[in-house]
Symmetry: C2
Subunit: 295 residues, 2 copies
Amino acid sequence: MKCKICKDKAEIYLRSYNLALCREDFIHFFERKVKRSIEQWKMFTRKEKILVAVSGGKDSLGLLHLLGKLGYDVTGYYINLGIDGYSDVSQNKVKEFSRSSGIMILIEDVRVSWGTGIGDLAKKVRRPPCSLCGMVKRYLMNRAAVEFDAMATGHNQDDETATLLGNLLRWDKGYLARQSPVLKEKRGLKKRVKPLSFITERESAAYALMEGIDYIMEECPLAKGATSLFYKGILNQLEEKMPGTKSRFLKGFLEYQRNHPLIEEEEELVACKRCGSLTTSEVCNFCRLEDKIKS
Amino acid sequence: MKCKICKDKAEIYLRSYNLALCREDFIHFFERKVKRSIEQWKMFTRKEKILVAVSGGKDSLGLLHLLGKLGYDVTGYYINLGIDGYSDVSQNKVKEFSRSSGIMILIEDVRVSWGTGIGDLAKKVRRPPCSLCGMVKRYLMNRAAVEFDAMATGHNQDDETATLLGNLLRWDKGYLARQSPVLKEKRGLKKRVKPLSFITERESAAYALMEGIDYIMEECPLAKGATSLFYKGILNQLEEKMPGTKSRFLKGFLEYQRNHPLIEEEEELVACKRCGSLTTSEVCNFCRLEDKIKS
């Protein structure tokens, strides 16, 4: 198979575009696609300071690499969640990426303040690890983002469609109203953006490989049996039977959202008595978790 | 296992209700559930004349039986679509049901006017059989319903959730706006109701069996590989992993619809030059199909 652009040997075939590309032209195609998302959704400009949350995986490291390459003012942010046999590997990937790229990455380690990892903690407070981990990461990311203009995550199209399916099966109005490639700054929370929203998992993996990014390939061991992975399997079946389903599903939803905006009911927020972050109760979830750890 | 109501031997266990019931109490439970749907959704009253579309399957014959039993003014309506090895079997079931129940069923046969069945016709006009069949049935049903106050179909919860999933994957605004257990009379089309919208396929089959209704068990042979069956398989996987998903999905959507009504953009309709039914073009789809048959 030959590259459609330069007629050199193709290295990847993109079924939904019926397009074969060589390494160089795929990288160009990928970067232009992300750049267009950033511009069309008015995510950020080169004047803004962006904090990019990285896990050590292909999506987030690929995003940090790409934004750096495109000349955006980026800093990475990594949280070591103390997951045995996983977090230390991913932290090494992140450190190595920072060293070789010259992009600064802030590193936080929950074990420093808690003395234990998220897995043990989930058992202790009897919560599913993925839900607890999500809450902790959101809190720490919001806190770290204070010095920045926007916070970017590497969620790709497969992540977004799986989330959308879950939100629709439950018709979760709050989540549906907030599901967007860009969420404006609001009530003390920095702008949140997802530049890879329209990039498939496969495209993202190919980009990281072709750009020589060394990333952690394993799934998080605590995520085994997670609902989000189950939804991804369901959507893969749909995509296999009807190619283009994921992209149509997500874009259709976003267009629908634009024409029929969901008014998110604003809950009254108060400052947490402990940490001052905005919350719906006297003490925020994160501080309540810390209380439990200490008790 | 014992019946929760009367302590006799249970004949069915309903997982989503954690409820075991004997034959008599299940029938009572089922009929009350349908009656409540009819009342809550203001579908129709005992003063209205209802045309019930029947295929010979469990849902539609069960519905016709139940409505007759509850004292509603019902007439059945069957279309023989000329599907080899299928339509004649289903027509016999329908005729036998009419004879034993004393409920009148109007019978139409497409082969009388077209000289051939829907399968051949689909090949001739190069359309997928299910889509052509749907169009033909809607046209004929609308025409037959002229003498009635409402038209009822046996769509059950599994049908409705599969349709909803498809409509959401495509974000089909027109279909989403019209998906409801009851559609009011509008622009020459009679009121359309689906009293089994909240009844599962399994409950419907159990009801037909327990009430001794002899129905056709086979799926239509032309529906092999149909997308609607694929969606049902997907939803069964979701239900298996997370019991209650289908019901939550459908009820969540209907509640969402009520709070955020979708304004269906009204297309301008004109009377078809041939048959006078309302259509978006000069000649309606049905009359154009008949033109092709004659050509």
